[in-house]
Subunit: 417 residues, 3 copies
Amino acid sequence: MYALVERLYPLCRSITGDGVRATLEIVGEYVPLRVHEVPTGTRVLDWTVPQEWNIRDAYIADSGGNRVVDFAASSLHVLGYSLPVSATMPLDELRAHLHTLPDHPAWVPYRTSYYKPEWGFCLAQETLDALPDGEYEVCVDSTLTDGHLTYAEHVVPGQVADEVIVSCHVCHPSLANDNLAGIAVATYLARALAEQTPYYTYRFIFAPGTIGAITWLARNAERVDRVKHGLVLACAGDPGRLTYKQSRRGDAEIDRVLRYVLAASERPHHVTEFTPYGYDERQFCSPGFDLGVGSLSRTPYAGYPEYHTSADNLDFVSAEAMADTLAVCREAFAVLDRDRRYINLSPYGEPQLGRRGLYDSLGGRSDAKQAQMAMLWVLNLSDGEHGLLDIAERSRLPFDTVAAAAEALHGAGLIKA
Amino acid sequence: MYALVERLYPLCRSITGDGVRATLEIVGEYVPLRVHEVPTGTRVLDWTVPQEWNIRDAYIADSGGNRVVDFAASSLHVLGYSLPVSATMPLDELRAHLHTLPDHPAWVPYRTSYYKPEWGFCLAQETLDALPDGEYEVCVDSTLTDGHLTYAEHVVPGQVADEVIVSCHVCHPSLANDNLAGIAVATYLARALAEQTPYYTYRFIFAPGTIGAITWLARNAERVDRVKHGLVLACAGDPGRLTYKQSRRGDAEIDRVLRYVLAASERPHHVTEFTPYGYDERQFCSPGFDLGVGSLSRTPYAGYPEYHTSADNLDFVSAEAMADTLAVCREAFAVLDRDRRYINLSPYGEPQLGRRGLYDSLGGRSDAKQAQMAMLWVLNLSDGEHGLLDIAERSRLPFDTVAAAAEALHGAGLIKA
Amino acid sequence: MYALVERLYPLCRSITGDGVRATLEIVGEYVPLRVHEVPTGTRVLDWTVPQEWNIRDAYIADSGGNRVVDFAASSLHVLGYSLPVSATMPLDELRAHLHTLPDHPAWVPYRTSYYKPEWGFCLAQETLDALPDGEYEVCVDSTLTDGHLTYAEHVVPGQVADEVIVSCHVCHPSLANDNLAGIAVATYLARALAEQTPYYTYRFIFAPGTIGAITWLARNAERVDRVKHGLVLACAGDPGRLTYKQSRRGDAEIDRVLRYVLAASERPHHVTEFTPYGYDERQFCSPGFDLGVGSLSRTPYAGYPEYHTSADNLDFVSAEAMADTLAVCREAFAVLDRDRRYINLSPYGEPQLGRRGLYDSLGGRSDAKQAQMAMLWVLNLSDGEHGLLDIAERSRLPFDTVAAAAEALHGAGLIKA
C-alpha cells in the first residue's frame, strides 16, 4: 500500500481533471475499475457538475526570473481551481492572492476555490517573509472549461444483490494521509474481499469529495435502496489510533460491527458520534438517504496539525498504520458479512442436540464447552429478532464461535436463515 | 418585584374572599387581568366551590382585655376558614383550638381548615407558654357564606393559538416566598413577554391553590387541548438554588427546555422528578390531563424551615433572587418559543450552501465556523423528528446559534416549519 | 425443611425410576401430589421419553472379594443410567469406566450418561490411587427397560386461572443442595401459599431436569398460555448469598418483583442475566415459549466447588439458608400476587379525598403522611400503564403501603382493577 501511495503522491488532483484520471489509471492496475465521466453542467441533486480544471504550470518569479514559488515542486502551491493568470505586479498587490500558515511557517497550506472564481498561490510563511518587495511575475497556466467530472467504481460481486459501499475521496493533491492512504486501503481491501465470494456485493467508489459523492448518489437513485451498509475511508495511514465515526443512525449494523470489532480487537481506538461535517458520510447520511454509512479514520478530520498542509507527506504515513487499518476493515467485514438472523426451527424447548452429535454425552460436568454454549445461545435467541452479532454481544462469546455454532446448527437443519 | 411583594404581604388571603380580590386588584395595576367569579356550589370536576370566607377581626384577649393574639398583627394568627366564634373559656379548653410550632417557638404557623368546620388560632409557642391560666375571650369575626371563588387570567397573545400556561397560587396569607414571590415573578414575566409578539399564546393564571386550578380546568375543558406547555411558579424568591420539578411525563418539551437552560446557564440548580404533591402541577399533571407542566421554585415545597410559618416574611425573599428566577423563566421561554421542527426541503445530499451565500468560498481550512456547522446540523436533522432543541443538544452548539441557522436556512427556502 | 432433605438424601434418583417415585412419595406426605407416569417412547417436543432405569446394587470388588467401591455407601458411586455389567477385568481396563476428580481427591463426582449406552463408576481419586493393580470384579445390577418417566404436580388454587409455576428438578441422587434443598423450599412454599387463597393459581412441578420439564411442556401446551410467571428453584440451601437469574425477557414481571424484593430486603444478593444454560428455565425460556420464568438459587449452578460432588452433602446445606430462601420466595409472591394495574375513575384533577375521609382536614402542615402520599401516587399513575410495583418503585414508597393505598381507594370507588 505504501508503494501505491508513493506513486500517487506527486499527481495534482482536484475535483475534476486529468489528475483524477491519472490516479484512477494507477489504481486500475491493482483492481479493475469502471470509470465514469459526467459532463459539466449535469444537474446532480441540488448541485451542478462544474467546469473541468486542468493545470500545466504555475509559478511566481522574481524580477531576476527565479521561480520563488513553483507548482513543479509541489501541487499544493497553486490554489485549487485557480483561474489562469499571467501578470506582473508588486508584492503588496500579490499578497491578496497568497495563502500561508503563520502558525507553521515552514508548511504550505492546501486551499481551494471551487465555486468562486479566484486565482492564488499557497506557500510557506517563511518563503513569503523572505521575499523582498518588488515586482513579481505570476503565472497560472490552467484551464477551466466544459469537460467532465470523473469517478470510478469497482465491484466485488457477492451472493446477494444487497450492497456494502466503500467510499474514498480522490480529489486531494499531494496529501498522503488525506487521502492517498484511504485510497490504498480501499484498493487492497477490494483485493482481499475478492479472494472468496462474499455474502454482500461490495462496491468501491473512488470519487472526488462532496460533488463526487453527490454525483454518484444522483446517478444511483434506484441502487441506493440496495445499499445496506457502508464505510468511508479517510486519513487511514497516520500514526494515531483508529477512530470510527458512527453513521447518523448511530445504531446501524455497521456501527455495531465496528464498535464490536474495535473493542474485541483490544486496539486503542475512539468511537465518535456522527456529525454532519467530515467526508462523504455527510452525503450518504443526509436525511433523505440516511444510509448506514460510517467513517473509519486513524486521526480524524482536522485532528492533526499536518492536516491539509505540506506536512501531510510521505513521512507522515506508514505501511504499518495502513496495514492496521486494513486489518480492522477486514475483521469488520468478516463479521458484517456473516451477521444474519436465523430462525430456530425447533423453538419449543431445547432440541435434543446429543441425538445429532452436537452435545457431550457425559452429563454432570460443570465445564460446558464454549462451542456448546454458543449453540444454546444461537438456538435461544434465533427468534427473528436477534442476529449473530446480537448473540455474540449478549453471550459474550467470540463472534467466530457464534458463527461456527450457527453453521453447525444450520447444517443439522435446526435453524434457517 | 420586591415592591409588589411588599404591597401584597399584609393582605389576608385564603381560597376565597376579599383578600384574593384585593390581591388581584393590585396585580391588575401591573398587567391587565380578567377576573372570574365562580359561585359557591358550582361543581368543578370532583369538587364543589366552597362557601366564601371573609374576616374582619380576630383576637384572644386576657381577663384584663389585652389582646394576647391579634389578627391585626398578622393574618397568620387565625386558622384559615375559621368559623366565627365569640366566647369566653379557660385556657385549657382553648388549647384544643391553638396551633403552635414547638420546634420553632418564636414562629407562628400557617394552618387552614377549608373543608372541616372548625375555628382556631395560630400563635408562637413562646406566646402560648407565657399565657397564665385563666379565662380568655376569643373572637373570630368571620363570615362563611355563599359567595364566589375568585381567580384571574392575563393573556399575552401569540402568533398561534397554542398556549403556554403560567400558574401561581394566590391563596396564601402573609407568606412572602409562598407565594407572593411567585406572583411577582409571574407578573413581571407577563410584562416581559408582551414586549414582542411571542410564538405561543401565554396565559397567566392567578388562582387559589388546588380548588382554583381545579375550577380553571373544569371551566376550560376545551382549551386544555391547546395547552402545549406550562409552568407553575412557587417559592420564587428565597435565597436557595433554583429547582425545576419535572412534569409527570418527565420528557415533555418544557422539561427538556428547563433542563437545558438551567444546565447551559451554569447556575447551581436541582432538577427533580415529578411527584403528585406540591402545587398545582398536581392538577395539571393528573392522569386525565397529563399536561406538560413543570414547576419552577427556588427551595421547593417544605424544603426550608420557614415554610408555612411567620418566618416566611419580607426578610426571607430578595429582589435578587426573584430577578434570577425571572431571568431563567425568560431564557426558558425564549428557547421554548423558538423550538420548532423544520423539514429540510433538500434532504438528498447537502444543498449547495455556497451558491446561496451561506458557505465559505475558500475550501481546505479546518476551522469551520460555528454558524456554518449549525446550518449543516439543522439541515441534517430537520427530518420532522428533531426540533431545534434536539439539534442544539446533539450538536452541542448554543441554542441561539442553532436558531439563527434555522432562520437563515428558512430565509433561503431550504427548510420549512 | 432440613428434616425433609435428610429423608430424601440417601435415595438414588435419576431422570426415571423408583428413586424418583420414592422421593415424590415422601414429598406427598407434606403436600398432596398428583403423580404422572409417561411411558417410554412417548414423543415430547423434540425428544422421546427414554427407557426407565433402576438399580439394586453396584460395586467394584478386589480379588479378595472386598468391595472397594460400593453403591450401598453412596448412590453417587454409579454412573447415572449405567448399563448392567458383571465382569472381572484388570484395573487398567477398568480405568476407562472410572470417573474421579483429581483436583478434589477426596470427593466422588456425580456423572451420568443418559443418552449414550455406557457403564461406569464414580469414586474418589484417592480411592483409585490406593487400588493395587490386579483383577477386579465389577457389578452393576441395574435394569434399563421400557417403563415410565415420573413427575408430579401440586396446585394451590387461586382466585384466577392465570398461573404461577414453581419448578424444581428431582433427578439428582445424593446431592443435598442440588436439589433436595430446592425440593424442600418448594414444598414449604406450597404449604405457606395454601394458608390463604392467593390471587394466582400456583402450580408446583416436581420433575426430572430437562426431559421432565420438556415432558411437562409437551403435555401442557394449552396450559402454557395461562402461565404468567414462574420460578425455578435450585441450589436453595448453601451458605452463599441469594442469586436471582432473570428470565430471557429480562423485564418480565417476575424479574422486576425479584429485583425489587431482594433490593428492598437489603440482603446481599446477585441478580444475573439470563443464559440458556442452568436448570429448567432453559426450557421455559426457550424462544417458542419465552415464559416469564426466572431462577432463584443461593450460589448458582457450578459456582461452588462442591457442585456435583459428594461434598454437596447434608453438611453443605443448612436450615437457616433454606429458611432465608423460603422467606424471599414468600416476600416475592406476596408482591407478585398483589401487583395489579388499576384505573383511576376520577382522573381529571385530584378527587376530593377529604370528603371521603381519606385526607387530613388540617391544611398547611408539611409532613404529609406516607399513606396519603401513596394514595396520591396510586391515583396519579393508575392510568392503565402502571402497576402497583411501578408505583412503589417510582414513589420510593414500600410496596405494602402502596398496596394498602390501592385497597383504600378501591374501597372508596375511586379506582377499579
